[in-house]
């Protein structure tokens, strides 16, 4: 079954051997527990020296399903199916022997038993044996369960280790799926991973493993059975097989997507629900509501398990698993294992994502730092060249002014002035190249920007013991602005507001729609400013703070003005300050 595309073929045989007696034991175990309470007697048997049964207790009759009449006079070995005892046991030289073996009942069932055999007399003295039998069925079943638990723990630990050592997101996803489907893993036929994509506001299918149909399953599983790789090997090196053989399921998984804002859809509801959902024949267990037909059609299956993936804080995604190929029933134990896997998977995926993001940001920073350095160098060189050029060209021009028309030197001076002009153009181009590009005006959701702003400045705001909030109508029209620059302007303004509240206070970002403008008001409950200070706000280098360049608001004002916007200040000493930034509305 095994579902990685796996080991199924190899497992099929093993399954047969192991499970057949187990089921029989289990049936017996039930009976055992039922009768135990009924005060049943111990199976006790007396044989004479050659193993002929002389006495057969009620307990023995219950255990073997044979009456006294059927057994007295028969041979012990023939009745129980117990192999002939080794010589030293049957010789009677050892007075008491205890051993575990398997006996057969009348029905042909096999019973694990513990036999205690006491020799009643020396050979030749007309002795015999007293045999006490203990039915081990129950303890064997328990032992089997414990063994399985232990084996599953080993499996989960191995998968966990593989997840811990994965660094990239894709590799982590692959290992989760291999763990869920491998024959030595959780043995599902197919598994699908969906992840939250915050940026797109979606829960979206990312990767899947599993065969397309029984033929493909056979091919893959028998190939795996031939090489019989260990789980560890599969977890670490399964990649090529996954990509080649899971084309169909990956086609399916890439069509699985649901907006996070759709809490009624099955997928998002499951993920947010924080608990496993088992779907049997299209019905969600416990809910009795049918799952969307479109989803069942897409998955091409009617029974599956959905387990949310999450960290303590955030939903990460959803893991779906099914036995679409073999139709093997999904047992409680399978679900438990999948849940344990999901806990590890959620953490591992989140970790890999964070590492990814960190790397990406580091690269971006390095890149922009390098560009900045190059830009600064170019600007410096250009600057150093420009001054001498101005002097050369300037004096050439002044000489030219003093040189009468027709003078032979005029031509030479004109050439100097002309060439200097050409060089100045080049220098200007270099300097222009290193300056920031013109604003990119796009419709901008100021509500979202305000939230991001508070997010970014959370630490500063919290440290200042300032309570911050955004107030905005739901139908706020978008502004037309360059997101990054407006963000920079707002960071400066908000920082100023926070600094104006040294003893803590309230910061409100209030968004107000106007006819052709959208206003972004930053209100603080800080120290406020007298009118003469208000009049100077935004002057370069004007600052009331002991630290700071005094350029923050100047920069903000310039950025707002570059957008064709306005900036205005209202303030009252002791009451606070409101800075209003008005930006043009985006055309609808």
């Amino acid at each position: 079954m095994a579902e990685l595309p796996g080991a199924a073929a190899a497992d099929a045989g093993r399954e047969e051997r192991v499970q057949a007696p187990r089921t029989r034991f289990r049936r017996r175990a039930d009976r055992f527990f039922l009768t135990e309470q009924a005060g049943r007697t111990i199976p006790l048997v007396l044989t004479d020296q050659d193993g002929t049964i002389r006495s057969w207790s009620r307990g023995a009759a219950d255990l073997y399903g044979l009456s006294e009449a059927e057994t007295i006079g028969a041979r012990w070995a023939a009745v129980t199916g117990e192999d002939a005892l080794p010589e030293e046991l049957s010789s009677g030289e050892v007075p008491i022997q205890r051993y575990e073996t398997v006996h057969r009942t009348k029905e042909g069932e096999l019973v694990p038993v513990m036999v205690t055999r006491t020799e009643l007399g020396a050979p030749g003295e007309g002795g015999g044996s007293m045999i006490m039998v203990v039915d081990l069925t129950a303890s064997k079943v328990l032992e089997g369960r414990l063994r399985r638990r232990y084996a599953q723990q080993t499996v989960l630990r191995e998968i966990g280790e593989a997840l811990q050592s994965a660094v990239e997101v894709d590799e982590t996803l692959r290992r989760v799926l291999v763990g869920a489907t491998a024959g030595q893993g959780l043995r599902f036929n197919r598994a699908f991973l969906l992840l939250v994509d915050e940026r797109a506001g979606e829960l979206r299918g990312r990767l899947a493993i599993g065969p397309a149909d029984p033929e493909e399953a056979n091919r893959i599983w028998s190939a795996l059975a031939r090489t019989n790789p260990s789980l560890k090997n599969l977890l670490h090196r399964y990649q090529p097989v996954v990509e080649a053989d899971s084309a169909r399921v990956n086609e399916i998984v890439h069509r699985l997507a649901a907006p996070l804002t759709d809490p009624d859809g099955f997928l998002v509801r499951c993920m947010r629900g924080r608990r496993t959902v088992q779907v049997a024949d299209g019905i969600e267990a416990g809910a009795e509501t049918p799952v969307e037909q479109s989803l069942l059609d897409l998955l091409e299956v009617r029974s599956f398990v959905a387990v949310p993936l999450r960290t303590e804080m955030n939903p990460v995604g959803l893991l779906l698993a099914d036995n679409a190929i073999t139709n093997r029933a999904i047992e409680e134990e399978d679900v438990e294992d999948l849940e344990l896997l999901a806990i590890q998977a959620g953490l591992a995926i989140e970790r890999a994502r964070l590492i990814d993001e960190l790397k990406h940001n580091q690269e971006k920073m390095l890149h922009s730092e390098r560009l900045t350095v190059i830009g600064q160098m170019a600007a410096r060189v250009a600057h150093e060249i420009r001054n001498p050029l101005v002097a050369i060209g300037g004096f050439a021009r002044s000489l030219l002014r003093d040189t009468p028309t027709g003078d032979a030197q005029r031509e030479a001076l004109e050439i100097i002035a002309g060439e200097v002009r050409r060089l100045e153009t080049i220098v200007r181009e270099v300097l222009d190249f290193t300056k920031p590009s013109p604003p990119e005006l796009r419709p901008l959701d100021l509500r979202r920007l305000a939230a991001e702003l508070l997010d970014l400045m959370r630490m500063e705001i919290d440290e200042a013991e300032v309570e911050a909030s955004v107030e905005a109508p739901h139908d706020l029209p978008p502004a037309l602005a360059d997101r990054d620059r407006i963000f920079q302007a707002l960071v400066n303004v908000v920082r100023n507001a926070v600094h104006a509240m040294p003893g803590g206070g309230r910061l409100t970002l209030r968004l107000i729609p106007g006819d052709d403008r959208v206003e972004f008001a930053v209100e603080d409950t800080g120290v406020g400013m007298p009118p003469e200070v208000v009049a100077r706000v935004g002057e370069p280098f004007f600052t009331t703070k002991s630290a700071g360049s005094g350029l923050g608001l100047t920069i903000a004002a310039q950025i707002v003005r570059d957008h064709g916007g306005e900036i205005a200040v209202e303030s009252a000493v002791g009451r606070g300050t409101t800075l209003r930034i008005r930006l043009p509305r985006a055309p609808s």
Binding site: A379, A382, H383, R386, N387, P388, L389, V390, A391, I392, G393, G394, F395, A396, R397, S398, A417, V420, R421, E424, R428, L431, D432, T434, K435, P436, V534, A535, R536, V537, G538, E539, P540, F541, F542, L551, L553, T554, I555, A557, Q558, I559, R561, E566, I567, A568, V569, E570
Partner: protein, 134 residues
């Protein structure tokens, strides 16, 4: 006839500006650093200041801040090698902003306009408070 103070650390440029502005009939005094320039604003009482931004010691922007603080009515013309965005907002407190060029024509035109009062710098734009105050 007006008195113009040129603050410029490069000797050759000082000489060029002095020569060209004098052609237009102005009296030109020069300073080779921001510090010297600030002193001469007091002693010479110029009608207009032409200011370089990048100078050793105190730079032109800081000098501009101080001049505007003490003598808010004296027009300041920034004359610099930079044409970058950063300078355009830093210089926003100035009355005019000219990019250095071997062609002193633009500088001279801006000087004439400021002196004749035809143009008022952003700093003194009427009704500029609180909107766009800054």
């Amino acid at each position: 006839m007006s008195k113009i103070l040129v603050i410029e650390d490069e000797k050759n440029l000082r000489q060029l500006y002095k020569q060209d502005l004098e052609l237009d009939g102005h009296t030109v005094v020069t300073a080779k650093s921001a510090e010297e320039g600030l002193r001469k604003v007091e002693t010479e009482a110029p009608d207009l200041v032409v200011l370089d931004i990048r100078m050793p010691g105190m730079d032109g922007l800081e000098a501009m801040g101080r001049i505007l603080d003490q003598h808010p009515s004296v027009p300041v013309l920034l004359n610099t090698a930079y044409s970058s965005y950063q300078d355009s907002f830093l210089s926003w407190g100035a009355d005019a902003y000219v990019i250095k060029s071997s062609d002193t024509g633009q500088l001279r035109r801006e000087v004439e306009e400021l002196l004749s009062g035809k143009r008022v710098g952003a700093r003194r734009r009427p009704g500029g408070q609180p909107q766009a105050q800054s």
